[in-house]
């Protein structure tokens, strides 16, 4: 696909002004060479907007770097949603959501656990001073997460080029996962250590 462009509309002087696989005669011939209508990849479009070179819809790009949203992206999204839908339906038909007796403030259960995504936090509270673990850590966690782009200012994107950040982040994530698993499956009555094969005290 070639896209007609105004001569002075080139923003990036370094960008190739000519797709390599287009024969030289076509150069500059622009509007006089309409492709056969309806054959994908050969039509011409009028310039509707000026697009910066870094943008997605690049002016001078070889045609094989992008795909049409319809059908390629939509098909991918549809299939993913379909798969997730099937998983959900199967799960909802086969697994019952838990429901116990009606809430009663007077009957303390032997195990009181927060929802699973907070069990890491609950586990931490059993190790540390509660103010530190219960209040500071979650705040630091969220604020720290939000600040990630402003802390890691290196221009590199690949994980191998920013090892420190990557290792640090993964330690947080894996650490969080581990304490969540411990809080979920290894804690029983009295928040005592219980091996999962001796009983699982966990509800979703």
């Amino acid at each position: 696909m070639t896209i007609e462009k105004r001569r002075n509309a080139t923003a990036d002087k370094n960008a190739p002004t000519q797709a390599p696989n287009v024969p030289a005669v076509e150069r500059g011939a622009g509007p006089k060479l309409p492709g056969p209508p309806g054959v994908p990849g050969t039509e011409r479009f009028r310039l509707l907007a000026y697009v910066k070179q870094e943008s997605l819809v690049r002016v001078d790009k070889r045609p094989d770097e992008t795909l049409l949203t319809w059908p390629h992206l939509l098909r991918a999204e549809f299939l993913a949603a379909l798969l997730m839908g099937v998983v959900l339906v199967v799960a909802s038909v086969t697994i019952r959501a838990p429901l116990e007796e009606m809430a009663n403030a007077g009957v303390t259960p032997h195990v009181a656990k927060a929802p699973w995504y907070f069990l890491g936090l609950q586990e931490l509270i059993s190790y540390f001073n509660a103010t530190v673990a219960g209040a500071f850590l979650p705040i630091i966690y969220l604020v720290g997460l939000a600040l990630v782009p402003y802390i890691d200012r290196s221009p590199y994107k690949a994980a191998r080029d920013r090892k420190t950040m990557w290792v640090f982040f993964m330690c947080l994530m894996v650490g969080g996962l581990l304490i969540t698993i411990i809080g979920s499956f290894f804690r029983g009555p009295g928040w005592n250590w219980v091996w999962p094969w001796d009983g699982i005290f966990f509800t979703l």
């Binding site: 319809w70 007796e101 927060a114 219960g134 969220l142 890691d152």
Partner: protein, 244 residues
């Protein structure tokens, strides 16, 4: 004499003024009509007309952001269904859940779907964040979209947490008691913050109505608005980040 077949019906429908006012073009089969289809449809316009090749690969995004959004939609629909049968009162809530489970047609299916969908969404949002981090996709110009993402993560957790109380059973009651008590460890205003959050000193009617309002309207609205901004910025930042 030839009888009209189903094809003729299709033709009549497709040539009718109604159909053509609804769909301004035939089924997209050429690059041009496919581009127009995306451009002219308000929902599809969430996407640009063309995307980078890697954006379509499952192994790049694992579609995790998209799946989070899909689950959000599923939760909205199933949630509205449940609202028809649920009254947020400490004397009724539990009975209502029981009747949804036992006497409403497909009630237990809808409840299960809402519950499992909620857990899955927390999971997909977390995984989405990890994948974005892995690709360094928070680098300029996408820094602020990452920040919006963190607020979305918080909103997702909060939606899930507030919803957890609504069945008003023992699991719900004690999980929220224990979970919200963690907030009272805040160094300043600890008692005040839990008083405000719980709508009283203990988990009770005041808490149930507060959590209900936050769960069914306040936070879905906030999350939806944030998602709009999130998606808009993805487009304005030139689609999802390139492969590393």
């Amino acid at each position: 004499m030839t009888f009209p077949g189903p094809g003729d019906l299709v033709r009549v429908v497709k040539e009718s003024a109604l159909w053509r006012s609804l769909f301004r073009q035939p089924y997209p089969t050429t690059s041009r009509t496919r581009a127009l289809a995306v451009m002219n449809n308000v929902f599809l316009h969430l996407h640009p007309v063309r995307v980078k090749k890697h954006a379509v690969r499952y192994t790049y995004t694992f579609c995790l952001g998209g799946l989070s959004f899909f689950l959000f939609l599923v939760l909205t629909v199933t949630g509205v269904y449940l609202m028809f049968f649920y009254v947020p009162s400490v004397t009724r809530a539990y009975q209502d859940i029981l009747s949804i489970e036992n006497s409403v047609a497909f009630g237990s299916f809808v409840r299960n779907m809402h519950r499992w969908g909620a857990h899955l969404m927390v999971l997909t949002v977390f995984l989405h964040m990890i994948r974005v981090f892995y690709h360094g996709a928070y680098k300029p110009p996408r820094e602020f979209n990452w920040v919006i993402g963190v607020v979305l993560l918080f909103s997702t957790l909060w939606l899930s947490f507030t919803g957890y109380l609504l069945p008003w059973d023992q699991i719900a009651f004690w999980a929220i008691t224990v979970g919200s008590q963690m907030a009272t460890y805040a160094p300043l205003l600890s008692d005040e913050s839990s008083f405000l959050l719980l709508g009283g000193v203990l988990v009770d009617q005041g808490t149930l109505i507060r959590f209900y309002v936050m769960h069914v309207i306040a936070f879905p609205l906030i999350a939806a608005i944030l998602m709009v901004v999130h998606f808009w910025r993805i487009r304005k930042d030139g689609g999802i980040s390139g492969p590393v």
